[in-house]
Each structure stands twice: as C-alpha cells, then as structure tokens.
C-alpha cells in the first residue's frame, strides 16, 4: 500500500497540469493514423529533457495510457487502426459507427479501456515480483508456440470461411517475410524497391483497413443528399457504463487476456486485443453477432489493450528489460535522468517510481472522462457525407503512413495492399487474419530459428520444443483451438450478414 503515500505528488499543480497535457495530447496523437503509442511517446521525449525525472515520467506515462485508448477513436470512426492494438476494435466498433451508434461505441470503448487499464496498473502495483517471473518464463520455444496459437486463431477471425481466413493469414505470413530476414540478413522476395526494407506493419495496417473502405465509398457512387443522412444517436453515458458491466463476460475475458498476454515481452501488446476478441467471441452466447456491430467485441478488445499497459512495464521496471518498443522508449526517459530501473528501483527512487505508476492510474480515469466528453461530439463524424469522408480517409492514410518512417515506399505499399485488399474482400477474404499473419510471421520465424539453434547446441529440437510444462500447455491450447475451429465449421456454416448488408446498400439506387 506504499503507493498510496505518493498520491499527493500527482496532484501538485505542475504535475497534475502535465498529467492533463499528457492525457489530452495522447488522445489526439493516438487518434492520428500512423502514430503508434511508441511514436507518440518518442515524440514527447525531447520535452522531458527540460523537466525533472518525476515530471517527465508523468507526462510519458499519461501519454502512453491515452494514446493506446485514443487509437480506438480512429479505429471506430474511420476504420483506421492507429496501432496493432486497435485492430480488433475496428471489427465491431466501426460497424457500430456505420449504424449511427458511434457515440455508444466510443463510450463503451473508453469505459472498457479505463476498467481494463486500472486493473492492469493495479496488477503492476501489487503483483510485480510474481509477474516478472512469468515474463521471463517465455523462451524461444514458448514464443514460437504462442505465435502458432495466434495462427490457429486466424482462420476463425472475422471471416465467414475458415479456409479463406487461413489463406488470408498465409498471404500475411508471406508478406511478413519480404525484405531482409531479421537474423541471417538474407534478402527475400524483393520484387520492387519499395519493399526492400520489408513491409512495415503500421502502413500495412492503415492500407488494409482504410483503403478498401474508401473504395467501398466510391462504389456507392454519386448519391442524392437524402440517402446520405444518417442519424447519429446520442447515447447517455450512464447507459454505456451500465452496459459495460452487464457485458461482464467480455469485460473479464478482455481484461484478463490483456494483462496476461501483455506481460510477455515482444509479443503481448500487438496481439492482446485480437486474442481477447477471439476468446470472448468463442465463449459468447451471441457469437453470430460479432462483426456486425456487437458491443461485446468493442468491450473485449478495448479492455484488453489497455489492461496490457500496466503489465507491459513489469519487465522494464523490475528487470530493466524493455518488453515492448514503447517500454524501450520509456526506458530512455528514465535513463536521461540517471535512473536505472531494476529490482531496487522502488527502494532507491520510490518517489519517481510510485508517482509514475500513480499517474498512470489517474491517467486512465482522466482519459476516460475526456474520452466520454468528446465521444458524442466525435461521433458526428459519421454524418460527414460519403464523398468528403472518402477523401479525408484517403488523405489521412497517405499522410499517416508516410509519417511513420518518412518513406514514400511505405505509402506505395499502403496503397497497393489496400487496393488489393478491396478486391480480396469482395471475394470473401478479410483484412484481420491477413494482418495477424503479418504480425505473427516474424515472431514465429525468429523464435523458431533461435530455438533451433539453441536446441542444436544443447539438446535436440524435439526435446527443446516438445517438453516442459509451458510448452505442453501451449501445444494443448493450439490443438484445442484447431479442433474447435473445425467443429464450428462443420456444425454451423455461418453466412455473414455483413456482406448481405453491403450488397443491399449498393443495390439501392
């Protein structure tokens, strides 16, 4: 309960002011396509040079918290996930916004984010030493199986056909191998100079989600004004809060999955949202509503990606190992003030460490308040006419993907993938499994190669990958996931209502 003693620090005028700036700035940066939380935090580092250690970290902590949640805004309203963490949010969130329920989707996402986030930070406060061991438990073989588990989820994710889902996943896995391979440095599949650096996930993400949507808007043609008008339902905040708690299954699954997976260095943050989404769909009684604007989808995805924030810092704060790119940037923020994180951080610099953690706790709540405040306003985006919307999304996609690495190549990749994805979507493929393949490919490959090298030097590959409790548990889960997918495929061949909706919409003159 030591952290309670440092709550006062957060509320001094300067610190609280910085917390507000960090939160509001973070929401804006997070909502900007192309700006992942890592980029946003790195952008703020120069400002912390002039602040003292505590103040600098308050700013960074608040920004980290709110950029993750801010990503939901563009994911829901524009279908542009700002970072991999927000992919799952687009699936149902954007469908809700299209139905005029943008305000509801945003409110649900902010409330779920805050609950997940607070839980994650509490884990960080109370269970750090235990969690640190868990973070270290994942070696190459376990990360490999974890990635394979992700691959098995691919088939059933946002796709009405398991085969096409897997095929899209394979395309994503292949795309991830383009460029230099990370370990050997060999060049693979470089058929154009734009891809010589490999396919960067963020521009790919923007292209795969935003561009098909732009083209679909073109497909509706030049409509008369009357057909455009969409009533944006206002939605009482209290209702949203009640709904989040009523959907306690999605909330629990999201929060737990997010915090457990978020811990694992190098993997967690990117896939926590998707895994949580998939799990809560499998366990939901209203399974078939997922993907059509169902509130459980938004709640699970958003509670998971904010629950990840706290635990993702555990390896950094206790072992001095940054477990995610964002944690690496935060490490820089600590180092410039001469603070070395490690198991004695809380003894040597309790004021800095606890104030930082407390500011994330308060930051989650502030983020929720501001988010709820603007939700109703932001949801009006849905009323922007089609033509204007298409042009805005296209412009944002170009600027956003360029800003990641200042590279025209990324913009070309974004547009090429996006245009291809539009046609693929028309033939029953979907973007989410493709992106998941793109993310998981390097994790699976690098860990397989490292594991194989270690295995060759010490024991045998069979022993290294197939023995040990954690390996066996993961393999068991993989098998269960595959069996479940096959069973579901055989039992109920699902036909999406989403596609029918698109077809109907285009047919109306």
């Amino acid at each position: 309960m030591e952290f309670l003693a440092y709550f006062g620090e957060v509320f001094t005028p300067i610190n609280f002011g910085l917390l507000l700036i960090g939160t509001i700035g973070g929401l804006i940066l997070g909502a900007t396509p192309g700006l992942s939380p890592t980029m946003a935090v790195a952008l703020l580092i120069p400002f912390t040079f002039k602040l003292d250690a505590t103040q600098g970290l308050i700013l960074l902590g608040a920004a980290y918290t709110s950029t993750v949640a801010g990503g939901a805004v563009s994911a829901i309203l524009l279908k542009i996930p700002g970072a991999p963490a927000n992919i799952a949010t687009t699936l149902d969130g954007h469908a809700m916004a299209r139905k005029g329920q943008g305000a509801r989707a945003l409110q649900l996402s902010f409330v779920a984010s805050a609950i997940g986030g607070v839980f994650g930070v509490l884990l960080l406060i109370f269970l750090t030493p235990i969690l640190a061991q868990w973070a270290l438990a994942f070696g190459p073989s376990h990360l490999f199986w974890l990635a394979i588990l992700g691959v098995t989820v691919i088939g059933s994710l946002d796709s009405s056909s398991v085969v096409k889902g897997l095929l899209a996943g394979c395309i994503g896995l292949w795309l991830s191998t383009i460029g230099f391979d990370d370990i050997m440095g060999a060049q693979r599949f470089i058929f154009h100079s734009s891809v010589s650096g490999g396919i960067n996930v963020i521009p790919a993400l923007i292209g795969l989600f935003a561009i098909p949507q732009v083209i679909s808007m073109f497909a509706k043609g030049r409509r008369s004004l009357d057909a455009e008008v969409l009533t944006v339902e206002s939605h009482p905040i209290g209702e949203a809060i009640r709904e989040v708690f009523r959907r306690s299954r999605a909330l629990t699954i999201g929060t737990l999955t997010g915090s457990v997976i978020g811990l694992i260095p190098g993997v967690g943050g990117q896939i926590a949202g998707l895994v949580a989404y998939d799990q809560s769909r499998k366990m939901s009684s209203e399974r078939e509503k997922f993907g059509t604007g169902h509130s459980e989808g938004v709640i699970a995805a958003e509670s998971a990606n904010n629950a990840m924030v706290g635990p993702s810092l555990v390896p950094l704060l206790t072992l001095s190992i940054p477990g995610s790119p964002t944690a690496a940037v935060l490490l820089g923020g600590l180092l410039i003030h001469g603070i070395f994180p490690g198991s004695d951080l809380f003894d040597n610099y309790p004021d800095v460490a606890w104030t930082f953690i407390n500011s994330m706790l308060i930051g989650q709540i502030l983020m929720c308040i501001f988010g709820l405040y603007v939700a109703g306003l932001a949801a009006k985006v849905a009323r922007v006419p089609n033509a204007v919307m298409a042009a805005i999304v296209l412009g944002l996609a170009v600027f956003g993907s360029y800003s990641v690495q200042h590279s025209m190549g990324d913009v070309y990749v974004m547009m090429a993938l996006g245009t291809g994805m539009f046609f693929l979507e028309r033939f029953g493929f979907s973007a989410a499994p493709l992106v998941l393949g793109l993310i998981l490919g390097p994790i699976a490959e690098a860990n397989f190669i490292q594991g194989a090298m270690i295995a060759n030097a010490t024991s045998s590959i069979g022993e290294y990958f197939f023995t040990g409790l954690l390996n066996l548990v993961l393999i068991g889960t993989v098998v269960a996931s595959i069996v479940y997918s096959i069973w579901m495929e055989l039992r109920s061949r699902r036909y999406t209502t989403k596609e029918d909706a698109v077809a109907k919409e285009e047919a109306t003159p």
């Binding site: 040079f49 190459p140 650096g197 690496a328 410039i336 198991s343 004695d344 030097a457």
Partner: protein
Amino acid sequence: MKTLIAAASIALMGLTGAATAQDAESYPERPVMLMVSYGAGGATDFQARIVTMTAGNEDALGVPIAIINKPGAGGRVGWNWFATQADADGYTLAAYNIPHFIAQSIEGGVEYSADSFEPIANWGADPAVFVVAADSEFDSMQDVVDYAKENPGGLTFSGAGLFVGHHIAALQLEKAAGVKLAYIPNNAGGAGAMKAVIAGEVLGGVNNLSDAYRAREAGNVKILGVFDLERNDFLPDVPTMQEQGFDIDNASVNFRGIMAPKGTPQPIIDKLAETVPAMFENARVKKQMEAGGSPMHVMTRDEVIEMWKAREKTLNELLSGL
C-alpha cells in the same frame, strides 16, 4: 514563344544555380533529419536523441535535428535507404554504427560500403562485454572457455544479430580461445539478447557495455570481460580480454556517430564537421550521457575517416576466414 521559353529556362537555371551556391552559405535553414537504423528506444536511438538535443542552440546548428527510425535486419534496412534514396542536400543525415555497417558490406547483399557515406563526427564508443546471469557458475572468461572446451559447440551465448559488433566480438573470442561456441543471434537486438541471458535461455551473452552496466546495477548479471584495449571508466573492476589471456583487440567496439550521404556538397560537410563535434562536447549533453551510462568518445571527421579505414582492414581479415 520560343524565346520566352528559352528565357524562362535560363532564368530557372540561374535560379537553381544560385540556390546551390547559396545553400552552403545559409545552411541550415530548416530542420535537419537524422536517420537512425535501429528502433526507437534502442541504445543508438537513445544516444542520438541526447547528443542532438542542443542542435537548435545558436552556437550549434541553429535548427533542431529530428530523429527518424528505420529499423530492420540489424541496420541494413536503414543504411540501404540512406545510401540509395536519401537526398544529398545536407538535410538528411544518419547515425552510423561501426563495425556493423562495414561488416555487413563485407558480408555482401547490401547496397552500401564505407565509400557510400561521408562521416561527420563520432560521439560514442560502446565496447562489447561478456555477460552471464547473476546466478551463473562462471566467474571469469577462463571458466567460460573451459566449459566450451568440455562441450564443443555447446556453450550458447546471445548477441544482437549477425555481422554487428557483438557477432564480431564472438568471432574474435572463438578465434582467440580456439574453441567452438554457439552464437545465438537475437532478432530483438541488444535488449532481447540481454533478456535471453537473464532468463537463462542461454549460458552467456555478448552485449553493449552501457546496457550490461545497467543490468549489473539492477543485480541481474555478472560482467566477465571487456572486448577493448583498456578497462572502461564505468567498469573499472572488469578486466579486458587481453588481461585474461585472450588476444582480442578493440575491433568490436561499437562506435556511433553522424554521417552524410556521398554527394553532399563539400561546403556543407565542412560546416557540419566543424559544428557537430562542438555540439557533442556541450556540457548538458555530457551530463545526460553519463547519467544514462553511455560512454562518450568525440572524434572529428578526419579521425573518423582514419578509424573507418582501420576497421575496414581488420574486419576484412577477420571475416575472410568465414
């Protein structure tokens, strides 16, 4: 009409010609971009952000330097871009890592070599060190080599990738000790390699001195030796490899600095070569670098040119045996 076009084109040529002459005079008049070929938060990125933080001061460049990250494949992605696509106008600079990019160009498969770049100045020298987990049975390099002799090819140790400083150090160690080791390159860079050591996935590791120093402060690792000619100020108690009887020089020391693409106008290079070392010497920069545990080593353009040449020679010899 024809004369009009001719006049216009002459005027245009005059304009552009004047612009290049003026460029060096008034350079820099807008913010400068510095490409770092490693991810945000890595040691190179972190140090680059500190050493350029005073760029906007009047006595330095007078304009801010913005860091752009182009990570991938041990730096190859960024440097390939820099050698082939960057504008040589003085507004696009990059951070270099020696021996990384020279070793990669010797190994082949990339579109750059030491001749593709113009060094500006060096800011840091981060030697490689050998680390083992805090609870490891190894207490000196001799213990490590003895184990390797009993288990040929069975001593697993991690490093940040192939053909980077850590890999060079590993090759030197194999050669000097006359043993076969199992070097496991990590795809997550130095941080990933360090995690592998602390988590016990591998028996030891080569890592950056700055990161290892921090990990030791946190009580996670033991540092057994420095791959350099002299002991380091941060670790006065850790002996060099030579002191422990291994003939290993400083070829793996990770030098970091700033370079420009080939073809950048000479006046601009001269201006940068003059102002940048002074910028690195700034007292605030030094204080923050030391606070972060990053060893500084400022070198001028001429010294860097010498150093690159010397490195290229040693690395050619070392890697030709592969």
